[in-house]
Amino acid sequence: MSERIVVDPVTRIEGHLRIEAEVKDGKIVDAWSAGTMVRGLEIILRGRDPRDAWAFCERVCGVCTTVHALASVRSVEDALDIKVPANAELIRNIMFCTQYMHDHVVHFYHLHALDWVDVVSALKADPAATSALAQKLSKYPKSSPGYYSELQKRLTKFVESGQLGIFANGYWGHPAFKLPPEANLMAVGHYLEALEWQKEIVKIHTIFGGKNPHPNYLVGGVPCAINIDEANAINAERLAFVGQTLQRAKEFIEQVYIPDVLAVAPFYLDWAGIGGGLENYLCYGDLPTNGFADVKSFKFPRGAILGRNLNEIHPVDPKDGQDGIKEFIDHSWYEYSKQGGLHPWEGETNLKYSGPKPPYEHLDVDKKYSWLKTPRWKGHAMEVGPLSRMLVGFVAGQPEIKGAVTDALGALKAPPSVLFSTLGRTAARAIESQVSAIWGLEFYNQLLANIKAGDTRTFTREKWEPSTWPKVAKGVGCTEAPRGALAHWIVINEGKIANYQLVVPSTWNASPRDGQGQRSAYEASLIGTPVHDPHQPLEIIRTIHSFDPCLACAVHLYEDKKEIARHELLVK
């Protein structure tokens, strides 16, 4: 006896995601992941000035804001062979580490925690015991019995008011919640603390980029000028602000985020055996320390792991058009003029919806069912994201990553195999936040040393003018978004964008299966997941959230030949 269940909208993510799953005897036997919104950014970019592309691309996503801007300026710099000054690379790296810390903390507390933390159970906690627990775990100062007793009073009044806001209709009381009331109360406290904290760390983006979300980037460097003798530039006061903010961010991650993950994990060790899915991991790497062209200088190493073989890293070349990355559309609402998959430089896309007419109950999952294309590397489905980065870094022997992963596994008294799971993904995100906090300060100190030594350059004008460009140029800009491997492929012709293609983390992870029936990461990870009550999709969202979905990136070309129907809805 099997049952088809639908989860739409999947909430606490960026964008619009639908999951359909087949449940049989309390377990998921098949699953389909569908992106249900598309905007057509790539066609919009055509014919525009390549130096403007970063701003358009940044609007792909306001959660992982910055990463698309970074991939974009790198793609143009790669095409035109521009090497940015050392300070620009350091400032970009500091902004990158800032983004990781912000994004991962917000994901854990505000997008993922309510899958593991029962808010209603927190009402039954003993505040004194909660305080004792918090103080045993960490030296974070907000942990007194009084703090937790006040918090509990507020929470009780909130629930009694009957207006539950974001907590309404949650899965409270579900048997899959395992934390004792005290741990739940502590987590609710940290949920609110993290909400306060997250708006502080982004000020680093504001200083260097003018605002957050969507700070400003620049082809050839960074837009801010450094002048330690001027009020209107990056000076000692601004730099001190950045340093202090990085320091405080590191404290929060070390005193709140990491201890919480390590405290919660032992209650959910069964999830170290659930949600593993694919056995292949891909990572482009990032944080260059000697220019973006020198891949060996990256802090996050580049590479791929196949079949969970932790003894071998395979090299990855994003420019390999023959046997590298290709996108397929067997189950996507698009049309190709050719058969098979296409490398992004040759990427072509025409939107062609062939799904059911809305409103619909189910998608035609045996045909086309998503706005996401299906990317493959050498024919393999690959998982991207924190887990891929930590595994590749661990196997490559990157010292900080290897140390942090080893420490976390030691604290949990678990072998590396637990990483291949829903819990492993969530732990990997915390581990890399810790590493990013250390690296952010390291880059900051290097920036200070550079300025002290008299180097204040932040931009190279050498190839700013289109008159200095070749007639045709092609480039790739890679980065590691918080959610995984991200690359932009650009073709420039006579100073304008001729083709622009993005292959983004959510395309790798959330895409529909390919023509051979190989599932991508989301679909594969759900197979075998136990479901206590098919009408309460808690277990499904646990695993899906462990990837930190970000669906707005599902943007593709569109050449419309039809007359567009005008809607005059409700217009007076």
Binding site: G62, K199, P213, F459, A552
Partner: protein, 383 residues
């Protein structure tokens, strides 16, 4: 344990002030908050008193926050509200009954929350919309729960008290509506009629502006004063150019000629490297970003005009119309502004000149038509 939510509360509802007290906010903090917010939304002292009283006695208003074609930067901006208690309080000062970004429930349970609110609080809930609505091919380019954004917008707007359009997507279509607008993305005011709509412009809007608009709605039970494009005058009546601290450099003819040149390091005016400040209405120069830390110009990048309709198609960003320092630029800048505005839904608003030398006029006072009228006269350019 099941909790029935969003049904009409049987228990005593807390007022906003009581709730703040219970959240550990002191009376003094509360009054400071009111004064700060009042200053932020440009209230006179009597208005602050009125606001204080309103927050002391009002129930939490149910809010439905929908997402269509967007990138979630508006939600992200909103949680950056910098006043010490804004994010904390506003997130549950209003009762955020439906928000795909933050709500615990997914799928059917999420849809139940939405249905509960629009049924039980008919005519009382505030509808916030982030994102544009794709209208091509019957709206299949954005579906949630198997229904199109078009269908959802129509249904949820029907019994809303008022509509807040967050950000450039909801106000004017933003990046997905840039040429050639592949999905025929449209802003909210073209989808929903017969409701008061507040256009809170920007990509994203400044967090404190978002908070300020909500506080205004909560306090006075009516929408703030709007300009001819439906934007709250309190935040969008001045050009970035006129509130820019680098303006004296502009007036003195001191310009950055290239990024990171000697003049950039002195913080001169960015007009020549493409600044759109002269044709952009926003509060970046006064409120600044992320708690007043900085704003794009202060951090060395020209304003790209992200709070204006069609700003994506008024590029390239680093190009300016050639002009000479002084009066000529002002004229050019104003022509630019007129062109930009004429191309937008707003039609030909008079772009008043505001230099130290000339008289000020209130923007929009002499505007030819309101947005809807202009729409009839200016059917959108189809690609």
């Amino acid at each position: 344990m099941e909790i029935e939510s969003a049904t009409k509360p049987q228990k005593k509802e807390e007022t906003i002030y009581e709730h703040m007290l219970s959240r550990g906010v002191s009376r003094r903090d509360f009054l400071q908050f009111c004064a700060w917010m009042g200053a932020c939304i440009g209230l006179e002292q009597t208005g602050v008193a009125q606001m204080t009283k309103a927050l002391e006695t009002k129930k939490r208003i149910p809010v439905v926050w929908l997402h269509f074609q967007e990138c979630t930067c508006c939600s992200e901006s909103f949680i950056r509200s910098s006043h010490p208690i804004v994010a904390d309080i506003l997130l549950d000062k209003v009762s955020l009954d439906y928000s795909e970004t933050l709500m615990a429930a997914s799928g059917h349970q999420a849809e139940k929350s939405l249905r509960d609110t629009i049924t039980n609080y008919k005519g009382e809930y505030l509808l916030c919309i982030e994102g544009s609505v794709p209208t091509a091919d019957d709206g299949v380019y954005c579906c949630i729960g198997g229904r199109t954004a078009l269908q959802i917008a129509e249904e949820v707007a029907k019994d809303a008290k008022a509509v807040v359009a967050w950000g450039n997507c909801a106000c004017s279509g933003c990046v997905q509506a840039a040429k050639p607008n592949p999905t025929s993305a449209k802003p909210i005011h073209k989808i929903i009629g017969g409701k008061p709509i507040v256009n809170v412009q920007g990509c994203p809007p400044i967090a404190e502006v978002m908070a300020g608009v909500l506080v205004h709605l909560l306090t006075f039970d009516r929408i703030p004063q709007l300009d001819n494009l439906g934007r709250p005058k309190a935040f969008y009546s001045r050009r970035v150019h006129d509130t820019c601290y680098r303006r004296p450099n502009y007036d003195a003819g001191l310009f950055v000629e290239s990024f990171d040149d000697e003049n950039a390091r002195k913080g001169y005016c960015l007009y020549k490297v493409g600044c759109r400040g002269p044709s952009t209405y926003n509060a970046c120069g006064t409120i600044r970003w992320n708690g007043g830390v900085s704003f794009p110009i202060q951090s060395g990048h020209p304003c790209i005009g992200c709070s204006e309709a069609n700003f994506w198609d008024n590029g390239p960003f680093y190009q300016r119309t050639p002009a000479f320092p002084g009066f000529g630029i002002e004229q050019t800048a104003d022509k630019l502004g007129i062109a930009a505005l004429a191309a937008s839904a707003g039609g030909a608003a008079v772009h008043a000149v505001m230099t130290n030398i000339r008289k000020r006029h209130e923007i929009g006072e002499h505007a030819g038509e309101n947005a809807e009228q202009a729409e009839k006269d200016n059917p959108e350019s189809k690609s």
